[in-house]
Symmetry: T
Subunit: 140 residues, 12 copies
């Protein structure tokens, strides 16, 4: 579970858009669902594009799938998109807000093009649904 | 649960992209999950843009939420987008395939802009996740 | 008088944009003005693009002019635009809201290009003014 | 009533597009309708963008509404659009010809975006309808 | 043989562009050639996008090939294009007029991208040539 | 019958796209059909844009119609388009492949804009159908 | 002879682009050639778009032709372009510099579209050649 | 100090965007700072593009620098940009609002391209900072 | 004097656009003016882009200047533009028609960007004026 | 005070664009002015996008305002723009060079859209003016 | 080794961009390296697009690889790109100058898309490196 | 020798595009050629944009030239491009794959615009050729 840039400020940053829960609370809810689904989950947050690429690389051989919220990098980081394509793991993109309904530059995600699928617009539930999606893919 | 154009051919149409299950099988899986989630669900399929608009309108006062796969209409039907905005119900967009990774015209969804959120790329699971998302929204 | 998609929800749909009067009330006001102008008017509402095309076709030989609010179809339905060009009757486009001041995709009307003229932004009065415009054209 | 650039040549300029009546005749017809509607109307014509801005400014406190035909300035004068936004009066845009059906650059009006609404395509009647529209707005 | 929107007005609609023969006469000529080529042909005309999709779907198992004049839908109906891709039959696009030489929006056909090939610009003969093309494909 | 650039390699060049028949075999099939239609046909192949323009010019007074496969020149040679317009003969554009379904740059043909019509996507049959189209035009 | 904005600074303004001669010297050379060609010429310079429109209007009935250097207005003043179209006189556009070889925004002239023709890039000679062009047109 | 179009309405025009102080109060604050910086400053306001060009021209030989708020002309007046380039004085562009964060058309300033630099977004302080910037440039 | 593609058909090709005089008559008029201006002129016509490049190359050391009508190559032949830049001679572009007022693709000339200047829109006189322009440049 | 990428090379990097003073000298001048304005200032320089985001985050609760020169990140880093929006502090963008007058890609700043305002083009003084702007904002 | 348009002028044409060595000297250096690499090399130069296509075609069966400098044709000749795809030989594109850093139109090479790879920006060495690249490909 | 993002996965990542050799093997081959060319080479790999900028900066005074494979950063990192411009060393861009023939976003390299030249498409040999190119530049 890789949280991208500015997500460390969750709960403080533009609560009208992103809600009032903190990242810690979000990770707790993810952990609870992971237990329910009998999955082991690690959550990381990175502001740096390179750190996200590193995290994707090191996921190989350690995890079976990745849930990635690339934040604003979704809209221009072809380097993260290449990393997603490179690692041979299913990667699921998750967004708290409904990016299709925001500023024009947020309507296209270049990183999602390299992912298995996307969940966006459901706040914390976007992550929980992505976790369920990951499990569906893994048990196939 | 509104299935858009060409989804009646599910299982026969481009199985490499859309899978081999039929629409009836898909609806059955949705029904099973609905029971599990204690939700009542109706599934409809329409090829016509106007019929989808009508279905959205009649959902008002009958259903609490709508899951919509607008198919290719996602990419140009501002009339369906307006219908979504008009009815005052939470609408969730679902796609079987990962539209972010297909032809350029499929990367922007104008109907999703009027929805609460989107789930795409997980095949049948896109619908199941959307159903869970609907329940999350309704129990809030 | 052809009302396009979602106008059946008038009064309920986004009242900040479209006002609180219903379509029935709107049609009543049109009828009153028609009497005043000594015109016979029929009002229809259709959500389907094909139904609007059919309605335009059947207007030939029955009506002397058409007032059309194509709703969101205004911005992409070249098929309706072709129907307007095909029927040889004066068609006047009317919009409740001021489409020039809304989202970018609403600033160009491809159907208006085939019409005689346009009235937009005056709420119910857009229709009343269009009716007067029709009368001006017919008495010339 | 502000007539924009080249409208002083009305009746002589491209009569196939703009008709054969002169500006004086147009103003006379406006005056007649104004009497009928119990409105006081002043008509001015300016070729200069700055003069139109000045006229809009001086309308504050003197008139209750403005009818503006910005001519070709409609398509690029953000300065006039700002003036319309600045004065706090309802401004109605009128065009003799149906700008939606002419050259591509004429299909978007940046000044109309700041106005209440638009009437275009009905020749002299565009102004008369705009006058009625103004009265509707004022008596609300 | 599926005729798209506004083709029911053939012979009356813009004869300078589309010729003066009626749709019935066109269908008669098609029938004559079909006899000559020992093919069985059915001709349908629909104004609605959804009806064209339905017709394409029902062609499966009934016909060996489809000739489609999508009219203006050619330029924006990705839903019809998807239907063409879905049915697994050879579909041939035919246009009466030479769409490459008309308004810019008519120069690209998104439905033709899903077809086997296109014949355009020869009036009634476009259909007759498309019928011959269908036969060539079927006898291969 | 003017074959454009790279068509001399027919049968060897990308057979998945263009088929395995050679240009000589293609010309033979054209000749056979010409006999059947009682037409005299000459076939030429040129790689140079200027040679195609010359060939179009010299067709005046010698031939009654031209069938032109401009190859890739179709997508940028305004000089050939001007030549087509200049010679006052009906010119028909033919393509072996379905250019509407290939790379974006191949979806618009600037030379077709100056032609009578287009046949594309039927392999060798594109030429045979074009020949029939030419005959239809000539006997009118 | 209408000189547009900033031409009053000729000789002082960016001499690398526009040369070192002053506007007075330019007008003198024009006057000399006018005498040689037996033409009467008046030269005016205006910085304001509206003043140029006024000058074009007043040219009607007074002059037989206009030579216009619209300066930077060439690239966006549809109002001047409309004035050129309105007055029914031959107008010739002249530019000191070769606008085709400068910044991208200078490569298209919207005012030239309404003129008879253009001369650009020859410094002072652009005007002298335009004067000769005017004479050619008038003696036809 | 040249104030552009609509700035005469300062304090009355869209106070949420432009603040509630009047132009006179703004000029007073500029005058105070000018005294503090030992500079002589004149303030002018013009609604007309041509008047701004004239003012820039007459600044030559009279002033050592110009502070220019071109208002909406910033986004399309290449004629003002040329005037800035022509006069050989340092010109500083100032905007009350943060144009980078407003409508898309306001994000590029074509006049700023010809200026020394820009200060925008600080309300009245934009002018005061521009004045300090001018002094820095002059004392170098 | 290099005449580009299709100019050999002058007088026969679209006379409404290009006039009824032939190329031979045009060359004669050029020759007459050349005598008057005491210049030696050779006129060539080529349909091929490569031939025009060759002709420009061989002009070095033989001629002092070139007048070039690149025809439709003006709008896409960067190879001719490079040839013009390469030869170190003044090249003047001439067009019979007013390219600024024709189809959008004709409004930008990429070859003119490499030339000294352009004369367009005056029919045969475009060449005569270009000849005078060449002389002006040479006697400087 | 956050200096973005490549500013550590100040004085050595393209001195024609960025001046010859070093970053240390720049920071010294900032420190001097800070003393004069009774402000405490810290200066940091980062080449990495993620480090700039981190620095913005840690500014919360420590500083009252941020002055940011995002360097080239200004033109594509939506992640930095989001960080600016997230931290709830006034951020002022400063550029040494006049970005409005450089390459096209530098003319729009996506990070400035999230800032309070921008100062650009005055070299070292851009920072000093930004510091004064910060003080104005803080004392309000 | 195919040299494209204007390369015959090497050493004389814009030496600041292309260097001062002649084409003969370049060919000599290529020959020397060919000897060193034990390769047989032929060098040709063509200004005509069609001649380059012909040369590519005739390379089949004669050469094992082609090094092509298409000059300006690189940016628009889809016909040459098709020829490269047609011949089934490895083709390497070489440019003397660094096309990525020149005018926008030179930044995309449509012919390179059909080649194995590209070497650009190293002057004469671009060819020498391309020759080594060819050898690497051939010995694999 | 700077390897950009995802190149650490070489040999594992999309071998169809990037080959099966590892980065260590690649560096070994580079080292071998360096010995042959009597050059000292250091190879580094970084996933982070900022780390690449740092590496470019520290190359000053230590290395005589840099070979850079910016990976996907090539297509949007203006910050790396600025770093290349800043350091005053020759930088050569190398790509394993032929970026001109891949997805549209990969066809333009903004970092190459700041480099001396580019080698792309030859797999490992791209680096070896770039090394030779560096040597050619250094011995000049």
């Amino acid at each position: 579970m890789i949280h991208g840039p500015n997500l460390n400020l969750l709960g403080e940053r533009e609560p009208a858009v992103y809600g009032t829960g903190t990242l810690a609370q979000l990770d707790e809810r993810i952990a609870l669902l992971a237990v329910e689904l009998a999955l082991a989950v690690d959550c990381r947050q990175y502001n740096a594009e390179g750190a996200i690429i590193d995290a994707l690389h090191t996921a190989r051989g350690v995890y079976d799938a990745v849930i990635l919220n690339p934040g604003a990098y979704a809209h221009y980081s072809y380097a993260i998109a290449d990393a997603v394509s490179s690692i041979g793991l299913p990667v699921i993109e998750a967004h708290l807000s409904n990016i299709a309904g925001r500023e024009p530059f947020r309507r296209v995600s270049v990183t999602a093009a390299a992912c298995v699928g996307t969940v966006s617009g459901f706040g914390v539930s976007s992550y929980l649904l992505a976790l369920r999606a990951a499990r569906e893919i893994l048990i196939k």
